[in-house]
Amino acid sequence: MLLITCPNCGSRDETEFHYGGQAHVAYPENPNELNDREWAEFLFYRENTKGTFAERWVHSTGCRQWFNMLRDTVTYDIQAVYPMGTPRPAAAVPPAAESGTASTAADSTTTGTAAPDAASSGTASTTAPEGATK
């Protein structure tokens, strides 16, 4: 089971999420000018990366918000979580930062550090939502 750090809710089980495929597939500027082959490539052709892959996820059982994630398709190592609409982070964050450092647009509330110690330290953590860490 993957533990995925939702930018809003903190660390949750993979079963609470749904996968949204490759991130950063831009809608064509002038769809009318595409020929059938180009249109089919936009609709159906996706990278099949072995290694670090940028992909979209939605926290469907939780806050129902979308976010982007950099994940290694070989090791399943989640390297970054970042808001929709922002460019792919240049370099992978070191593995120590298991959690996302992203905040979603405007009102995003938490950065969701996933360290269980943060929640157990007694003081109410400002980053991890109550009950959201494990």
Partner: protein, 211 residues
């Protein structure tokens, strides 16, 4: 059924309304272990789903109707009359007792609709969407932990918080009103399954503990 009392409240519809887990009432009572873990259905709460940008003017109008909007995951705002649960950055669930419903003399839905006005957003009457299981007792947490991956320890899941999560693989909203009590909001169609799942998870606590 010529019952004059039945004419009160939605022209008598109130009396024939059945809650999603009403058929389990006997089983819930039989499966409860007084002083250890007790399960019952708390049906027919008034619920309103609200989507509004909390920083907008309409957001503050809505906040003033219900006594504030929660700012982040887990937070519960509101008053004694109505609880406001955080579902997303711009999505909230208002939960109030049955009498708060406009059809029974209350004004919750109507006042929210009025507060939103023409602003972008929505107020939807969701009173029939979910039912409520009330699980309480010293072993209530042990029952939930059989099917919920969140850290339910009180140091992490404190009274007065609520989260959207899964219990027994069912998507629910889990509210913790007190130290040893939980309110579980499954959608109506999951009430039968989740009720039976909870009863099964409670069963071991009816027997003496095996050392």
């Amino acid at each position: 059924m010529a019952n004059t009392a039945a004419l009160e409240g939605i022209n008598g519809l109130r009396d024939i309304r059945r809650s999603p887990a009403s058929h389990l009432a006997g089983a819930l009572e039989a499966g409860s272990v007084e002083g250890t873990v007790v399960l019952k259905e708390g049906p027919f709460q008034t619920m309103a789903g609200v989507r509004v940008d909390p920083r907008s003017e309409a957001g503050s109008r809505i906040a003033s109707v219900v006594g504030g909007l929660p700012a982040r995951c887990g937070e519960v705002a509101g008053t004694e009359r109505v609880s406001v649960l955080w579902l997303g950055p711009s999505e909230f669930l208002m939960v109030a007792p049955e009498e708060a419903h406009d059809s029974l003399g209350g004004d919750l839905i109507g006042s929210l609709v009025a507060a939103l006005g023409d602003a972008p957003g929505q107020v939807v009457d969701l009173s029939a969407n979910r039912t409520t299981f009330e699980l309480a007792g010293p072993r209530a947490r042990a029952v939930l932990e059989k099917g919920c991956a969140l850290d339910l320890h009180p140091r992490s899941f404190t009274p007065g918080t609520a989260v959207n999560t899964e219990v027994g693989n069912i998507p629910v909203i889990l509210l913790k009103p007190g130290e040893e009590s939980y309110r579980i909001f499954p959608r109506a169609s999951f009430a039968d399954f989740l009720g039976r799942w909870l009863l099964d998870a409670m069963r071991e606590f009816a027997s003496p503990e095996v050392p």
